[in-house]
């Protein structure tokens, strides 16, 4: 097949699955077969694009003329590949996990669930492969709408309320993003991403600063504080959905957008001259510390993880704010690294719900005796996020520290250290509770076992990938990131 068509094919695969899933919805095994087949094929299609991207080329494919300001067009570059590859791998693992989870709990409306999942992953990959801001916006909005049925899946009044909050935040954010896109078009007459940015000299400093603020509010999916409220609220969703929101697609789409705008719309030099680095650093530092403090107070495991995500996402913003090569590298690297670690944590939280029916940390005393593998994997991923080798979390931390020094903002080192301490403060007690404490009532855990293999294997695999990234960071993620950094700084591809 012509490699030039692969980006479109990659998006078409899950969309095709979305058409098939309702048709075969009555037959569960066929329906799940469609999901898995689509996930495998999509991963294959993404991997097929990896060699040309790693050799430094880009694949562009215009799809349709749309409106003045941008046609519907795809372009795969190294940075988009980082996101797409993360999403594709995690979709496959998450699909297995979701099948186990939904069947174990005998959830209702599973056809709707898998349908929405398939469309959502298509939208996520669309965001990764967008050639211009408008295409990105189109997929971004589709992602918002199609994840709503997933968030309110349990359909309790509490879930409906959370769903309204989710929709309100993200749709209003979408309006800001649209305003930002249109303003960009009015200022420059284009919205096509250019490595190193294209906004320089197109408007007064004030306008460009306001525009950046519009973009920031637009990418509310990045859950920076104080616009993070939707993310903990969305915790009412089934766990595979939480995993999807936190690792595979949704928040990732938000931070991806911000990095895209910083590197491919503004460019680091313009950001620096507008003082946007400091603005971003303040937001990121505030979010990192405050969200960690929030996490300390949560007893519900999923909600604690949600605040942990809010905090961790701002690592990426912090990396961008340094406006240095190491900082940018940290920002891009943290996208897959955080995704793989955080999805493990959510998988475990869901496994505990399935096996033991427990959501609160205080009820999980000694659960590691009955679910040793699950609890160990949780511990590994949690320590990984704290920055302990041999897991990938340490990589982005090192680059962040380097970036802080390189970018001349050593004060940010304090933020990184404080955050690490806080990470440990909210993760270590969980590990302690799970592994070391004795249950209040010995017999209460009698019926608890490890989750079904279809859930356990993804848990182990995500940790394995994190370890693998630690030992072999260059292939493929760091190599891709090096190319992306070279693009936006205008230096030669190493």
């Amino acid at each position: 097949m012509d490699a030039g068509l692969l980006p479109a094919v990659t998006i078409a695969i899950p969309l095709l699955a979305a058409v098939l899933i309702p048709i075969v919805g009555k037959h569960e095994n066929i329906r799940e077969g469609v999901t898995i087949t689509a996930a495998v094929t999509m991963l294959g299609s993404v991997l097929a694009m990896l060699p040309p991207i790693l050799s430094g080329s880009r694949i562009t494919i215009p799809l349709l003329p749309m409106v003045p300001g941008g046609d519907l067009a795809l372009r795969v570059d190294a940075f988009g590949m980082v996101f797409a590859l993360t999403a594709a791998v995690l979709w496959l693992l998450n699909s297995f996990y979701a099948i186990g989870y939904m069947r174990s709990l005998q959830e209702h409306a599973q056809t709707r669930f898998f349908f929405c999942f398939a469309v959502a992953i298509a939208a996520a990959v669309g965001i990764a492969f967008s050639e211009n801001l408008l295409t990105l916006f189109v997929f971004y909005e589709i992602l918002t709408i199609i994840t709503y049925p997933l968030v309110v899946h349990v359909e309790t009044p509490a879930a409906m309320k959370a769903g309204r909050k989710y929709l309100a935040y993200l749709l209003i954010g979408g309006i800001f993003l649209l305003a930002a896109v249109i303003l960009t078009y009015i200022l420059t007459g284009t919205t096509v991403f250019v490595p190193g940015g294209f906004l320089a000299g197109s408007g007064s400093a004030l306008i460009l600063q306001v525009l950046f603020l519009l973009f920031m509010v637009g990418f509310v999916k990045a859950a920076w504080m104080p616009l993070h409220g939707w993310l903990p609220a969305a915790m009412v969703a089934p766990t595979p959905v939480s995993a999807f929101l936190h690792a595979v697609a949704v928040v990732t789409a938000g931070v991806f957008g911000i990095v895209r705008v910083a590197g491919w719309v503004y460019g680091m030099d313009l950001m620096a001259s507008l003082g946007l680095g400091i603005f971003l650093a303040v937001i990121a530092s505030f979010t990192i510390v405050t969200a960690s403090l929030f996490a300390l107070t949560e007893d519900n495991l999923k909600r604690r993880l949600a605040y942990s995500t809010v905090s961790q996402l701002s690592y990426i913003l912090l990396g961008v704010s340094m406006l240095s090569i190491a900082g940018m590298t940290a920002a891009m690297a943290h996208i897959p690294i955080h995704a793989f670690l955080k999805i493990t944590l959510f998988f475990v939280a869901g496994a505990v719900i399935v096996s033991a029916g427990k959501e609160c940390i205080s009820e999980m005393k000694g659960i590691g005796r009955k679910m040793p593998v699950t609890a160990l994997m949780f511990s590994a991923a949690a320590l990984g996020i704290c920055g302990l080798p041999p897991l990938a979390g340490i990589i982005s931390k090192i680059y962040l520290a380097l970036g802080a020094v390189e970018g001349g903002m050593p004060v940010l080192l304090l933020v990184i250290i404080a955050s690490t301490v806080l990470n440990a403060a909210y993760f270590l007690p969980i590990i302690h509770t799970m592994l070391l404490q004795r249950p209040d009532d010995e017999r209460s855990l009698d019926s608890v076992t490890e989750p079904p293999l279809v859930m356990l294997i993804p848990i182990v695999l995500t940790v394995a990938v994190s370890v693998w990234i630690f030992f072999s960071p260059s292939m493929p993620f760091m190599d891709l990131i090096d190319i992306a950094i070279a693009e936006i700084t205008g230096s030669v591809v190493p």
């Binding site: 749309m66 003045p68 409306a109 349990v154």
Partner: protein, 496 residues
């Protein structure tokens, strides 16, 4: 034959209305096929004419061979050629939809007159669209209005009589304003031919007579299009009319009224008049923005699906008037696109409401909990058309909104652009109320009886699904539509 298509567009349906009456006397079952065939023929002719116009330019047809300005001429240019195709397409969809709906909602002995009036309504609207004579426009307006009053009342419920009567009163006031406006124009220029008027009027732009004429026409047509706050007739009329009639008047009739207003503001008068001589665009822009917000807020407050959609129409008319208020190329492209887009999506939404009434016997939102389980296809169509109403890309609703905002930005109307963007979110408020109730309201309710899927008849489903899919496809392939819209917008601004 092909040369005479314009007049056949009007003559054939009038004859067919009579034929329906005669055939109906013989056997009632003949009414529907005759109506369907006529409208399909008209639609075919409209497409042929639109292609001809896009290829060759404006078509002028002199009725009876009498040359204008004395004779009446039919003029089809890229603007009304586009409108004509849109309204006849929607009329065709409505007729297909109407058959079963009518069987349910209209007494058997009244069905003949229903189809006759339906045909006359379409005739009047087509006439309004293609005539080049302003008095002739008024005549067709009255034909369509009287047909509408009767059709609304044909639901034969007390409330529909009231709705019809209210509309009759307000519609007559509107007609009075329009007639006086036309009279004033005749006094000022001595002609009734629109092209002639456009030539002669600039000389009299300073006259109070002309200002009065413009104001009267503006007010009259504002009532007809239900431009806030002159919308009072609309919610009752849309809610109480039979479902098929609601679909037709909310899409076709509303759009033709908008067309007439645009025609008069931009072709009979000109942008120069409405921007410089009698600066009214700023005011219209302001009211349009208020209409967008107020209509949406009122829609959110409703408890009846049809009434909610009716208020939504008031909000959506605001978008189209917004284009008139900005009055530049991009905004007008957005406005014209929205005429098409809104007709398609609101047609689809009202068809869903009609199907729900057909199946469930009610359109009270509180009675529709979990209706998506019973009527999955209808609710999916609602979701798609609703997404278009909110303006989620890549639907047609997003595209028209995008052009409008872009136009407003370009005209430097930043604040209005911002209000439009925010206002569009209000649509999410009322669309989502139904979505929540239909899809997510049922799972934990007390009585969980497993409701088997029971959709309406196929002849009602097909046009509804077609319109829902069009919301998506017109958006994705918006460039094809823009081929027709762009020259139309240029024409309105006085270009080629």
């Amino acid at each position: 034959m092909i040369d005479h298509l314009p007049v056949l567009l009007i003559a054939v349906p009038i004859l067919s209305a009579l034929l329906i009456l005669l055939a109906g006397w013989y056997d009632r079952r003949f009414c529907y096929p005759i109506s369907l065939i006529t409208i399909l023929l008209q639609f075919g002719a409209a497409i042929a004419i639109l292609l001809e116009v896009m290829r060759e330019g404006t078509i002028r047809y002199h009725l009876g061979g009498w040359a204008p300005p004395l004779g009446i001429e039919l003029v089809i240019d890229s603007f009304n050629g586009f409108i004509l195709a849109v309204i006849l397409f929607l009329s065709a969809a409505t007729v297909v939809y109407a058959r079963r709906s009518v069987e349910k909602e209209i007494d058997p002995e009244k069905r003949i007159s229903f189809y006759v009036l339906f045909q006359l309504l379409v005739t009047g609207l087509v006439g309004m669209t293609i005539t080049g004579d302003i008095f002739n426009l008024y005549v067709f307006l009255e034909i369509s209005s009287i047909a509408t009053y009767t059709l609304i009342a044909s639901a034969r419920r007390p409330r529909s009589y009231v709705a019809s009567f209210n509309y009759l009163v307000l519609g007559s006031i509107a007609a009075g304003f329009i007639l006086l406006g036309i009279g004033n124009l005749y006094v000022a220029t001595g002609t009734l031919n629109m092209a002639d008027l456009a030539l002669l009027l600039p000389a009299s732009y300073g006259l109070a007579t002309v200002h009065t004429a413009f104001l009267f026409l503006l007010i009259g047509f504002s009532i007809k299009v239900a431009f806030f706050p002159l919308h009072l007739w609309l919610p009752d009329a849309y809610t109480e009319a039979p479902s098929a009639v609601t679909v037709l008047i909310s899409t076709v009739m509303a759009k033709v009224s908008v067309y007439a207003l645009f025609r008069i503001v931009f072709t009979v008068f000109t942008t120069a008049y409405v921007i410089d001589t009698f600066a009214v665009t700023g005011f219209i822009l302001f009211i349009a923005t208020v209409a967008i917000i107020a209509g949406a807020v009122l829609a959110i407050a409703q408890n009846d699906l049809k009434r909610m959609l009716a208020y939504s129409s008031i909000s959506q008319i605001g978008y189209i008037m917004f284009a008139l208020g900005v009055a530049n190329q991009l905004a007008l492209e957005g406005g014209l696109l929205h005429i098409l887009g809104h007709a398609v999506m609101k047609g689809c939404l009202f068809m869903v409401a009609g199907l729900i009434i057909y199946r469930m016997g009610t359109s009270q939102l509180s009675d529709l909990k979990g209706v998506a389980k019973t009527m999955p296809i209808s609710c999916a169509a609602f979701a798609l058309a609703g997404a278009s109403m909110i303006g989620i890309p890549p639907t047609i609703g997003f595209m028209s909104k995008y052009y409008l905002v872009l136009g407003a930005f370009e005209a430097g109307q930043w604040i209005y652009a911002a209000v439009l963007l925010v206002g569009s979110l209000l649509a999410a408020g009322y669309i989502w109320r139904f979505i929540e109730i239909a899809y997510f309201g049922d799972h934990h309710s007390e009585d969980r009886r497993p409701a088997p899927a029971r959709e309406g008849p196929v002849s009602m489903l097909v046009p509804m699904v077609a319109l829902a899919l069009l919301c998506l496809f017109l958006g994705v392939f918006v460039e094809v539509v823009m081929e027709a819209v762009r020259p139309a917008a240029m024409l309105l601004l006085g270009g080629a």
